[in-house]
Subunit: 139 residues, 3 copies
């Protein structure tokens, strides 16, 4: 059993930019000798989140549409009144979606469905450079 | 320390079918000799999710009602226009809820509340056969 | 590699009480000799949840506002009709947010963003005593 820490660098466009990071995670996993365990991906930051989706243009548009219904960009936010940075919606979406995802791996491969990709969503209202942590625990 | 992989087979009715899988997870955990650690349950697939709830008929109905408000079955989805399978709502609910849950265990037992059950929700718009992964890490 | 179990005791005001528990988790982590791994915090109970947020008064107010939109306290709940305890909204919010969070640590420190805190939210409609489990896996 071992813990191995990897990192993924991303440049995002912000504004609910939805990025398929499946191959990036698998690439980091494949650099280790581990064959079975859990990969936990975590974003240090409070305006982004992680989940899975079938990564096709229709659902990417839909996900943006329904997140906009839950916490609209132009909604009223105390955060915006205090800090004047206009990204209150980004914080709320990030808190609701959560900053991490845990994906099991077997025989060195992430155990995802055929039409299931791991996505990173940058909700912030400007382009960002992000560094995700990939904490791999296994044997 | 060890990683032990187990699987749970489920036949669901689809259409936001909410299934209590607590005993199934505990059963797989009890087959191992592990006494302390983390159990990560993961669904390979993009139209289902996992969380916990007090499993009683009132809340099962309520959970369906409020998920329907968040992403209505009859809502507009680009996914449906492209693929004509009518399950756009299922994908969006699944992405929002997330495909995994991690439950700690102590002395060989899942550390849940008395009125807290682990549920698998199949959002897809037809019956499905599902295979959940139970990745157990501990000692 | 080892698993170490810690607990955090909290007295909450209920009614979507949002509590910053970052220092409490770090304190438990620092009591161990582990330097790298995953910290999984879990609430045994079905009316509370965990996530991260930039912990400042504006966002705390906003998070309460948008959770109220998703599952209003005065909404219709079958749970309330059956059990007459009036906390149906608390159960639904808890199921949607989820009962756990996994935060990686490196060099003995939780790997959070500068403006990112781990929060425990007690949705129940009365003050509660809570005991969170902190399951630390690492080396």
């Amino acid at each position: 059993m071992a813990v191995i820490t990897k990192k993924i660098q991303l440049n995002t466009k912000g504004d609910t930019d939805i990025i398929d990071i499946t191959d990036r995670i698998q690439e980091e996993l494949s650099k280790t000798a581990l064959t079975s365990g859990i990969t936990t991906v975590f974003v240090p930051g409070s305006t982004a989140g992680l989940t899975t989706v079938e990564y096709e243009p229709g659902l990417i548009a839909d996900l943006r549409t329904y997140l906009e219904k839950i916490a609209p960009k132009s909604g009223a936010y105390q955060h915006n009144l205090r800090w004047h940075d206009g990204n209150g919606y980004a914080h709320i979406r990030a808190s609701l979606l959560g900053p991490s995802i845990s994906v099991p791996f077997i025989k060195g491969r992430l155990h995802l469905g055929t039409w299931q990709q791991v996505i990173f969503i940058d909700f912030d209202n400007r382009p960002r450079s992000r560094e995700l942590l990939v904490q791999i625990i296994g044997e």
